[in-house]
């Protein structure tokens, strides 16, 4: 029989206990969660603590290439990583809608477990609530992540200078286009697949070049355009991108062209945008390309002195502005 989440699953009684035992303790019950304490006791770090949180309300919660469970782990792991941290622990807070199939919850929790194991992080504390039907869209998740600062990284956009290189760790826009395709029912052969994934290995691998790495960000909502505009806005620097160097998967490119969406404004979920001195850019690229998650890494542009502007040189040899995305092109993408 297809069982569904009921309000009673969130009220602290017998059904609640069963849900926690069967689904949470079963998957995450080793380590600090054992015994279900109200809070996790964690051993301290030598270095600074890097702490980040994010909430996940993606619609639909399953999409080509993943589901909300992947995002909930990778998103927060990546936020800690791109701040120069080695992620270690996650909290897991869930709000479930009455009527959510338990099989769906199980699939998402399995995904969370697998993703956490891949990233080398543990789920150490959490919470589960249930709201009446219609008061949320299936499942909303919040994860908070704790990591230890990696030696050497001093990431500050004020350090960025003319001629610094702009590198992306792989194809851009896959996640946004995958979610949009699922939402709009666009099924094409070889269509976009979400790039949801962790970048923690890529960050840790380039630690030897930390002195020359100025800035790292995962280009989620608003994409590459948003990140770069944020960096150069109200400064004396600008950025120029080369359209021929920007890596885009063919399926993602097709959907973005079909729908008239600028791929530079589309969210990625398992990518990094990094700015570094020109002297180390090729070395970083070489290191990244050794990993599956970095195989399509590319140097896509440079910092210049076009004050406050992000521009793109196009296939014609002309240039155009890369503007901050206006409004919410794609709501509830993560």
């Amino acid at each position: 029989m297809d069982e569904k989440i009921q309000i009673a699953h969130g009220s602290g009684g017998k059904l609640s206990s069963q849900l926690i035992d069967n689904e949470i303790v079963f998957r995450f019950g080793n380590g600090p969660l054992k015994g279900l304490p109200d809070a996790a006791m964690l051993k301290g770090f030598k270095n600074n603590i890097i702490f980040s949180t994010d909430s996940y309300v993606v619609h639909p919660y399953e999409f080509p290439g993943g589901n909300i469970g992947n995002l909930a782990v990778h998103g927060t792991v990546n936020d800690v990583s791109v701040a120069g941290g080695k992620p270690k622990w996650l909290s897991l807070g869930m709000i479930l809608e009455e009527g959510l199939p338990i099989k769906t919850l199980q699939k998402i929790l399995d995904t969370i477990k697998e993703s956490a194991e891949e990233c080398g992080v543990k789920i150490v504390t959490g919470d589960t609530k249930v709201v009446a039907k219609g008061q949320c869209d299936g499942i909303y998740i919040n994860t908070a992540g704790i990591g230890e600062a990696i030696d050497g990284f001093n990431l500050d956009k004020n350090l960025i200078k003319e001629n610094d290189c702009i590198i992306v760790s792989g194809n851009i826009g896959d996640h946004g286009m995958a979610v949009l395709s699922a939402r709009e029912g666009i099924n094409i052969k070889n269509g976009p697949l979400s790039d949801t994934g962790s970048v923690h290995r890529l960050v840790q691998k380039i630690q030897p070049y930390a002195d020359n790495i100025k800035f790292v960000r995962d280009p989620t909502r608003g994409g590459v355009a948003s990140v770069l505009n944020e960096i150069v806005s109200n400064t004396s620097i600008g950025a120029i991108l080369d359209s021929e160097k920007i890596p885009v998967a063919p399926g993602t490119n097709s959907i973005s062209e079909l729908l008239g969406i600028d791929i530079l404004s589309v969210a990625c979920e398992g990518r990094m945008l990094l700015i570094c001195s020109e002297s180390v850019s090729n070395d970083i690229l070489t290191e990244w390309k050794k990993f599956p998650e970095g195989k399509d890494a590319a140097i896509i542009g440079k910092i210049n002195n076009d004050k406050g502007r992000v521009t793109l040189s196009t296939v014609t040899g002309g240039t155009r502005l890369v503007d901050v995305p206006m409004g919410e092109l794609l709501p509830r993408i993560c």
């Binding site: 062209e257 040189s313 296939v315 014609t316 040899g317 002309g318 240039t319 155009r320 502005l321």
Partner: protein, 366 residues
């Protein structure tokens, strides 16, 4: 063939740009500068997106034309749509329309106030809305040139055949060939050639431009929206001017034929008839609009729901009219980028996805 890759091949593009520069030099040596109008708003967007305008030599000027159906529709049309929405009608519309300012507000604001305004990717959605809401009237905002007319009329044809009674269209259809005449006749403009709209041409065919070229001896070249083909189209114009050989030249033969889409044209002519339409910024142009024939009054919102689209009261500082004729560039409007931006548009040229000001703001502003 890989469609996107081949029509955006950088080597091909650069080769054509080199040839354009050679053609421009030949004209420069004769002290000739050329004004080319790209009529269609989608061409304006593509030209801006691929940075083509600034690539061209100084004696080749690209002027953006009024080929943005949203931009040339009077604000009074929006006012009528809002009034209908506020009276309980379901408004079905393409996305562009919802942020265009009427005399007082937008359809987007109207929606936020509780009115039913539904954005459609295709006119067929209006039929679904009508079926799902049998006790409500659905009005589709039928704005567009020939390209858009065809699918909207097709939708109405289907609705009639299916016996759907609670649907009608509020029309503001416009035609491209008459506006070429009006622009050519304007003494304040000097247009030496037209880059003709790709998909309007797919409907009307090369033949639609032949009488115009015959009379005015002005080159008309049809090209697609891809950068390589836009450049090719521009180069063909220059070569026609050098050879003094004005003609209709089709550089989009994979989609555009000599006679156009005859099935679409037949359907359009069955339902619609020409009238003297008012164009924002250009005034009334003879036989430049199409309206529903009398016998289709039951699907004509104006007769069915007893409304009349009156002239609206646009912001007096708005210079969309002059932008639409190519008399000023968007950044020559005093409101551009200051009071008027995509987030707070004063005129339709800033908010439409085919608007000159929107293209300039998005891709070219400094």
């Amino acid at each position: 063939m890989k469609y996107i890759d081949d029509y955006r091949n950088p080597d091909t593009a650069k080769f054509i740009v080199k040839d354009i520069k050679k053609s421009a030099k030949v004209l420069e040596d004769k002290n000739i500068s050329v004004n080319i109008m790209e009529v269609c708003g989608s061409h304006t967007m593509a030209i801006a997106r691929f940075g083509i305008r600034d690539l061209l030599p100084k004696n080749i000027n690209l002027i953006s034309g009024p080929g943005c159906p949203v931009c040339v529709t009077d604000s009074g049309y929006i006012d009528t749509a809002i009034k209908l929405a506020e009276s309980g009608v379901i408004i079905a519309t393409f996305g562009d329309m919802i942020n265009v300012p009427g005399s007082e507000k937008t359809l987007s604001k109207c929606r936020a106030e509780g009115c039913r305004v539904e954005v459609c990717y295709s006119p067929i959605t209006a039929i679904d809305l009508a079926k799902k809401n049998p006790d409500k009237e659905v009005v589709f905002l039928a704005i567009g040139f020939e390209t858009t007319m065809a699918p909207i009329i097709c939708m109405i044809d289907s609705a009639i055949k299916e016996g759907i009674k609670n649907i009608s269209i509020l029309t503001a259809f416009k035609l491209v060939p008459p506006v070429l005449e009006a622009l050519t006749a304007d003494p304040e403009l000097r247009i030496d050639a037209f880059l003709c709209p790709s998909h309007v041409s797919a409907i009307i065919g090369e033949k639609a431009y032949e009488p115009f070229v015959e009379e005015h001896q002005i080159p008309c070249v049809i090209a697609s929206f891809e950068p390589v083909e836009i450049l090719l189209g521009l180069n063909c114009i220059l070569k026609q001017i050098i050879a003094n050989r004005p003609e209709v030249e089709n550089r989009y033969k994979r989609v555009v034929t000599h006679d156009g889409n005859e099935m679409a044209t037949e359907l359009i002519n069955r339902y619609l008839e020409p009238y003297d339409a008012a164009w924002r910024g250009l005034g009334t142009i003879p036989k430049s609009g199409l309206k529903l024939r009398e016998k289709y009054s039951s699907i004509n919102t104006e007769s069915k729901l007893n409304v009349t689209v009156k002239q609206g009261k646009p912001n007096s500082a708005c210079k969309c009219g002059e932008v639409l004729k190519g008399k000023i560039k968007p950044d020559e409007c005093p409101l551009f980028g200051k009071a008027c931006s995509p987030i707070n548009p004063i005129g339709p040229c800033m908010v439409s996805s085919e608007g000159s000001c929107a293209a300039y703001f998005k891709y070219s502003r400094h």
